[in-house]
């Protein structure tokens, strides 16, 4: 899988590249509008992560060009402007997702996988982890061919963990993934604990080890 990161902040680009490279993606980086415009014409990417405010132009124009050239490429807009109009325009232009800075790398990674799944496998892919079969298109989890009954939040949590295997997922990243910005930190931490506990119990009841470990002081980790 080949990605193009269009981001003028070198440090932020480096962080994104470092994180997703470990997921097995090959990354290229363009720091200006013209460099990015050149790259999308010359090469084929599976997904492009594009910032809206760029030196030399507007990232939305890149999305326009991309969609004209090749409708298969997934697009995730990353922007400091979370003005609703930008978001609506971006999605109307054909972008698959929209993330507002600051964001968690784990969140970006999860969204990236979701976009790639939708774009390149028509959404009909299964994620196989530790004897679990996750079917994102049906929001379903199977253990040994039998459906595992999970609540919505438990399912979201499992998918988020599975999208970031071997990584420490901070409580803050999990809370934001499950509830967005509105959630109270103080309350959400207890609830995350409850959800994790229930998820583990449900998996364990079906004779599987869950692979979810708590990381002291930080959050949780899903081991493959």
């Amino acid at each position: 899988m080949k990605l193009l990161i269009v981001e003028d902040e070198a440090e932020l680009a480096a962080d994104i590249i470092a994180y997703v490279t470990q997921e097995g993606y090959r990354c290229e980086w363009a720091s200006t509008f013209s460099a990015a415009a050149e790259k999308i014409v010359l090469y084929q990417y599976d997904c492009v992560i594009v910032d809206i405010t760029l030196p030399g132009g507007n990232g939305l124009d890149l999305v326009r060009t991309l969609k004209k050239l090749d409708t298969q490429t997934g697009v995730i807009i990353v922007s400091a402007k979370d003005a609703l109009t930008d978001k609506v325009t971006g999605l109307q232009l054909g972008a698959d997702d929209y993330l507002t800075k600051p964001f968690h790398l784990a969140e970006l990674s999860a969204r990236l996988q979701s976009v790639v799944r939708r774009r390149h496998f028509g959404g009909r892919t299964e994620i196989q982890v530790r004897g679990l079969t996750i079917r994102p298109d049906a929001r379903q989890v199977l253990v040994a061919g039998q459906p595992l009954e999970l609540t919505r939040k438990e399912y979201d949590l499992l998918l988020f963990l599975a999208a970031n295997p071997g990584r420490v997922l901070t409580k803050e990243a999990i809370a934001e993934h499950l509830w967005g910005d509105d959630m109270d930190q103080a309350d959400s931490l207890d609830i995350i604990y409850t959800h994790v506990k229930n998820l583990r119990r449900k998996i364990n009841e079906r004779g599987q080890t869950d692979g979810i470990a708590s990381v002291y002081g930080l959050g949780y980790k899903f081991e493959l």
Partner: protein, 426 residues
């Protein structure tokens, strides 16, 4: 007191004073003139009678004589008869024997005349009734004229003053409607009066500068929040990568964990500031039809876990009525979400939250201790109470701002051990 009334009051006081003084003075002067005239007539009559005394044949004829009106007679001089000639006021009844008849005023001359070497007293008088009537009529006419003059002056003065001050009142009305956060400039009427022209010019300049300062301030807030986003983003992603490094001691993990919390807080604060700035900049103008019940149910579902975790009893009333609002959905969502989050945050464990929808309002009430701060502080930016619960202190400020922007109003009151937040639809 209005300006016009103030100037008029001075005029009115002066005019009333002149009237009050002038009418008695007029009365006295005219009465003097009349009396003088009558006295002169009496003296002349006395001269005439004196001159014609020689036509009486004897004393008997003299004493029975009356003039044509019966107002002059001659009588013998007695011991009480005054010897000085003088004129004085005297009242007589029209019918001397009828005590009910009114005494009428007369001017009377008493003089000593000599007839055939003997003194006789002449008493001649003139009724003052006609003069009195005339005098009264004159004074009445004068008072009437003065009154008319006064009223006319008042009316004219009021009218001209009103016309004169018209530009001032227009400016005042414009200023009262002027709102600095609205983009509309102040349009003041032109005036050919130098003072008003200058006043309008000054006010226009002042509001233009204030508006510019307000815009600059808003832009600064938005730009500052924007500029902060990237460093915060870099900080957060770097921190996330740092968390992935191995091995971490427990001490390091604790420090990183707390940094995560702080960064999340910083990030939310930043987003809230941006949101506030954006509402200020009218970035969410388009209203759309929204079912209140849908929005509230969606929000409750989002928070239901916390509600359950805190064992809060959540009561919904009026939800079967599908109230349809014409409002920007994102803003309504944010507003109600902030109110609900706030209610959940400050409701003690085992407390109660009542959400009730009315045709004209929606209220969110939760049990809890009374506030230690005022309502104004409650809705102020960063106006948090004593309880520190992880909020950034902008939720209610944003809710209030949205309510104002959407033409709704948001009120708070504490009653029966419950905090009531009521959103009244425009």
């Amino acid at each position: 007191m209005k300006l016009l009334d103030r100037t008029l009051r001075t005029y009115l006081l002066y005019s009333a004073l002149v009237m009050l003084v002038s009418i008695p003075v007029f009365y006295v002067v005219i009465e003097r003139l009349f009396t003088g005239e009558i006295d002169e007539v009496l003296w002349l009559r006395k001269e005439a009678i004196q001159a014609s005394l020689s036509r009486f044949p004897d004393e008997k004829a003299l004493l029975t004589w009356r003039d044509l009106e019966g107002n002059s007679r001659l009588q013998a001089v007695g011991p009480q008869t005054p010897l000085r000639n003088r004129v004085f006021d005297r009242a007589y009844r029209e019918h001397p024997n009828d005590p009910r008849s009114e005494p009428e005023p007369f001017r009377e001359l008493s003089a000593i005349l000599t007839f055939q070497g003997k003194p006789y007293q002449l008493i001649t008088r003139t009724s003052l009734v006609e003069q009195k009537d005339l005098l009264e009529a004159l004074v009445l006419v004068l008072a009437g004229l003065l009154g008319l003059l006064l009223l006319g002056l008042l009316w004219l003065n009021r009218r001209t003053a009103r016309q004169l001050w018209q530009p001032f009142y227009e400016t005042l009305a414009q200023l009262q409607q002027y709102r600095i956060d609205e983009g509309r400039p102040l349009v003041l009427p032109a005036s050919d009066i130098t003072e008003f022209a200058e006043l309008n010019q000054t006010i226009s300049g002042l509001t233009r500068r204030s508006h510019q300062a307000f815009i600059d301030q808003k832009e600064f807030t938005e730009n500052a929040a924007h500029e902060m986003q990237t460093p915060v983003a870099v900080f957060q992603t770097r921190l996330e990568r740092l968390v992935q490094t191995q091995p971490l001691t427990n001490e390091q993990a604790e420090l990183l964990g707390s940094l995560n919390g702080v960064t999340a807080r910083l990030s939310r604060l930043n987003k809230s500031l941006l949101l506030l700035a954006r509402i200020d900049n009218q970035s969410y103008a388009d209203p759309e039809p929204v079912y209140l019940t849908d929005v509230l149910n969606g929000l409750i579902e989002q928070s239901i876990e916390t509600v359950i975790a805190k064992q809060i009893e959540l009561v919904r009333t009026g939800f079967e009525e599908g109230v349809l609002l014409q409002i920007n959905r994102t803003l309504l969502d944010t507003l109600l979400s902030n109110l609900l989050t706030n209610a959940i945050r400050y409701t003690p464990t085992n407390g109660r939250i009542v959400i009730s929808i009315q045709p004209q309002s929606v209220s969110i009430a939760n049990t809890g201790e009374p506030l230690a701060i005022t309502e104004t502080q409650l809705f102020a930016r960063f106006g948090k109470g004593e309880a520190q619960t992880g909020g950034v202190g902008l939720g209610l400020a944003i809710a209030k701002k949205i309510a104002d922007t959407c033409g709704c109003s948001l009120t708070y009151q504490y009653a029966n051990g419950q905090h009531h937040f009521v959103l009244w639809f425009g």
